[in-house]
């Protein structure tokens, strides 16, 4: 980044702990962090557990199958004109997925806003975006929000390998990247039904999830991995017993595979599993994921020494995410005392609502805000996820929308004292200019808007 994009204001270690690594201060967190900022951040790394208030991916698959069946039946019956009740059933099933997506997206954000360990919620969001899925098509509308809950959160502070395995076997990912219908060209399935190979998931596993685009793999490796995971599929409720992930042996490409120079002669599901385990521990994966973590949590251009330490920790601890994050927090390079990054819309909205402790913000308004600011949950539109670069968020139209929204939420918070919010959110790490602007604003609403839109609040 160019130097002039950074504020020259020196920011305190407590401010860094709360704003750079977490979602911003809620209540007196800044004061808590002041005693020992590093210890405070490390104590923030706690497992995230979702309760069972929302439908599991299996339930969504069942509801979707019902919807498809009803749709088919109605098509057959169309001429008979007796459809009013069934139409409602169909609509209900259709809405089931939409409601699930809306409720789960809002719940994750609301929990992040209310959390007393927001650093972990940032980490969850990082991996959710690393394994990005998009809610395109009715089935993905239902499934997309379940991936982070069922496959990512349980392994958030565990080994990357286990998270990778859970993600690549989750119906959401298998369906999003079309692996559920990918079958080996020499499998029994292909011979009988003329089904073939789909490379989509295999390519993204290597390009995005593990090695990275420069990770040294070839098109042959993509095909070999794709063949290795042929038959990794999803059960079709109503047509077969049970739901969720299934390995279809009759769709698996027979024979040994060669991936990145290594031979895999395992049979069945073990072949793809071993390939993924090896990919998870490949040095290029350590390099790729550590870079993304440091680029997200620390700076646009993370220092080489920091990256080196993180990668060494990754390889030493079998890709343990908790250990790698502690290594990051331990490094002086992560605590550079000027702001390094521009908040994404999601970070901006969550940190604002944490700072204001607003109660009346409802789910619909919350999601519509993120749509207006350009970061609708589960809608990146590409398996690469949302960008983590200032260039992509600091556009003119995007900034105007932030200003409009800040003005609006400031209007909801008329009784809030902007000076007090400033002190709790940023402490003393505020430039003379910003401090004076907020204090001299012509109304409390304007004061709050200026605070929220100040470089010190927009950046971290």
């Amino acid at each position: 980044m160019s130097e002039n994009s950074m504020s020259s204001t020196i920011i305190s270690r407590a401010n860094i702990a709360v704003n750079r690594f977490g979602y911003g201060a809620r209540g007196d967190e800044l004061a808590q962090a002041e005693k020992d900022p590093k210890q405070w951040v490390e104590s923030q790394l706690k497992p995230i557990k979702f309760n069972g208030d929302f439908p599991h991916s299996n339930t969504i698959l069942i509801e979707h199958a019902k919807y498809q069946k009803e749709k088919k039946r109605q098509k057959k019956q169309q001429r008979k004109n007796s459809q009013s009740r069934n139409m409602q059933d169909k609509k209900k099933a259709k809405n089931f997925s939409r409601i699930a997506l809306r409720n789960m997206s809002a719940d994750t954000i609301n929990q992040a806003i209310a959390s007393s360990n927001s650093v972990s919620w940032r980490l969850l969001d990082f991996f959710s975006n690393h394994f990005s899925v998009t809610a395109h098509g009715l089935l993905m509308v239902g499934l997309s929000a379940t991936l982070e809950r069922e496959a990512i959160a349980p392994h958030l502070l565990g080994n990357f390998e286990d998270m990778l395995m859970a993600v690549e076997q989750h119906p959401g990912m298998l369906i999003y990247l079309n692996n559920e219908k990918s079958f080996g060209p020499n499998s029994r399935m292909a011979k009988k039904h003329k089904k073939g190979l789909n490379e989509n998931l295999a390519r993204e596993i290597m390009e995005l999830h593990t090695l990275g685009v420069d990770g040294g793999y070839s098109q042959t490796d993509v095909i070999e991995l794709a063949k290795g995971i042929t038959g990794w599929s999803v059960k079709r409720p109503g047509k077969e017993r049970g739901e969720g992930f299934v390995f279809r042996a009759y769709g698996h490409e027979p024979g040994a595979r060669k991936l990145l120079g290594k031979t895999y002669s395992q049979k069945g599901i073990a072949q793809g599993s071993q390939m993924l385990r090896d990919l998870a521990m490949h040095p290029a994966t350590a390099k790729h994921v550590c870079y993304k973590l440091a680029h997200h949590f620390v700076s646009q251009n993370p220092p080489a020494s920091l990256l080196k330490e993180m990668q060494a920790t990754w390889l030493k601890t079998h890709g343990n995410i908790n250990a790698v994050m502690r290594c990051l927090f331990d490094a002086d390079d992560a605590w550079l005392n000027s702001t390094q990054k521009y908040k994404t819309p999601r970070e901006f909205v969550i940190s604002t609502l944490r700072a204001l402790s607003l109660k009346k913000y409802n789910d619909k308004a919350l999601l519509s805000t993120l749509i207006n600011l350009g970061q609708q949950p589960f809608n990146a539109g590409s398996p690469a996820g949302y960008s983590d670069d200032e260039l992509d968020w600091l556009g003119a139209s995007a900034l105007m929308a932030r200003i409009d929204w800040s003005t609006m939420v400031s209007g909801y918070s008329k009784r809030v004292n902007a000076e007090k919010v400033m002190s709790r959110a940023l402490g003393s790490s505020v430039s003379e200019l910003s401090y004076r602007s907020v204090l001299r604003a012509e109304s409390s609403q304007q004061a709050l808007t200026l605070l929220l839109m100040s470089p010190e609040f927009q950046r971290r």
Binding site: E390, A396, L399, A401, I403, D404, W405, T407, L433
Partner: protein
């Protein structure tokens, strides 16, 4: 024109801050300039030619039913396949050559056809072999013969010719991904903040160049397309309003060379007659607004209107049509050599249909677009390979010389 002098006599404000007066000048139309603060690749000075040929790419998302839009009245099968739809038109069809006719909602387009600045192309497809909307759209936007979420054909085209583009969208659509010469604009349904706050923020951003540049550019764009003050909140993002705004951002010395618009609502599985009456009127009026907004620039403009695929030749049981294959493409604009119907008609008999179900595509959309690029933006064959590596351009005289 003399620039208004900026008076800054408030000693309270640092010199870099905006005075209220400058502010009002900036947000007013006329003076405003659309700048691209985030892109260093641009050189504005002296590069702009007066008559720069413009392209607007309009993607109709949801698969437009071409048989209900450019009706093959001469084809014996048409009425047999579509007994209800063929009689659903509320007023007479608008005749084109060879027995084709436009849907009655497309009044302006028909007018342009008569003026020879509309060229409908029948029975086209992108090469996308399946029937999924999202993949089909991604395929059409990527333009590479495969889906690439990070690179679009229009972005590659502007990179080759060093042009600038605008996406009327909240974030960059695939068509315009992989170039840094792209800006986005979209109305937000948030209420605009008061002007005071912009002035205060401009002052607050005096030490933060990138925030400051974005703010000023944002104010300029907003000034150009007008703010919503005083008006009752209406449905945001109406196509006619987006088209008007798009035109404003394309004209003038700093207007962009090309823009992308999107319009959805074409997935007409049921009640197609009524829905297309309305949707095609919206399309027609939006394009008319674009034309009038472009003014003189219309002469240099080609609007390309495409959709991801077509719909079934036969109507279904709910007064609509299902996902199909062959569809249509429109080229419109003063630069278009129109007044004809392009493309080869494959016929609608069962054995003439694709998989006995869809209109058989006879030409490729990308070859037509490549044809436009070669004649309108003077792409060489080598350059076209960078945009569409997998197709050959057609060589019809579709642009006025």
């Amino acid at each position: 024109m003399k620039k208004p002098k900026i008076i800054n006599n408030s000693d309270d404000l640092p010199t870099s801050a905006l005075s209220r007066r400058k502010f009002i000048t900036m947000t007013g139309a006329g003076l405003a300039v659309l700048s691209f603060p985030m892109s260093s690749a641009f050189a504005f000075e002296g590069k702009k030619q007066l008559a720069s040929p413009k392209i607007v790419w309009l993607l109709l998302r949801g698969a437009l039913d071409s048989l209900h839009t450019i009706v093959p009245t001469f084809d014996q099968q048409y009425k047999t396949l579509r007994p209800k739809l063929s009689t659903s038109f509320k007023s007479p069809l608008l005749p084109l050559e060879k027995g084709f006719a436009l849907h009655p909602s497309l009044k302006n387009l028909h007018q342009w056809y008569q003026e020879k600045s509309l060229l409908p192309v029948v029975a086209v497809y992108s090469g996308y072999p399946k029937r999924s909307h999202f993949d089909g759209q991604d395929y059409l936007e990527s333009g590479k013969g495969e889906i690439d979420h990070d690179s679009g054909w229009l972005a590659r085209a502007i990179e080759v010719k060093n042009k600038r583009a605008l996406a009327v969208s909240r974030s960059t659509p695939i068509s315009l991904r992989s170039s840094d010469q792209v800006n986005t604009w979209y109305p937000s349904n948030l209420k605009d903040a008061d002007e005071d706050i912009y002035a205060a923020l401009d002052k607050l951003y005096q030490n933060d160049e990138s925030l400051r540049a974005s703010l000023e550019s944002g104010l300029q764009v907003r000034g150009l397309v007008g703010d919503k003050k005083g008006k009752k909140k209406k449905r945001q993002g109406k196509f006619i309003d987006l088209s008007k705004a798009c035109a404003k951002l394309m004209v003038g010395e700093q207007g962009v060379d090309c823009a992308m618009l999107e319009l959805g609502g074409w997935d007409t599985h049921k009640n197609q007659g009524t829905r297309l009456d309305r949707n095609l009127a919206e399309l027609d009026q939006g394009l008319a607004a674009l034309k009038s907004g472009l003014g003189e620039e219309w002469r240099n403009t080609v609007v390309i209107v495409g959709t991801e695929f077509g719909r079934t030749a036969k109507e279904n049981g709910t007064g609509g049509t299902d996902h199909g294959t062959g569809s249509a493409l429109f080229l419109a604009g003063g630069a278009v050599n129109g007044g004809k119907v392009q493309g080869n008609w494959p016929g609608l008999k069962a054995e003439e249909l694709f998989q006995q179900r869809d209109l058989m595509p006879t030409t490729n959309s990308f070859s037509w677009i490549a044809n436009v690029l070669s004649q309108h933006w003077h792409f060489t064959e080598q350059e076209l390979k960078l945009v569409f590596p997998h197709v050959k351009p057609y060589n019809q005289a579709i642009i006025r010389s």
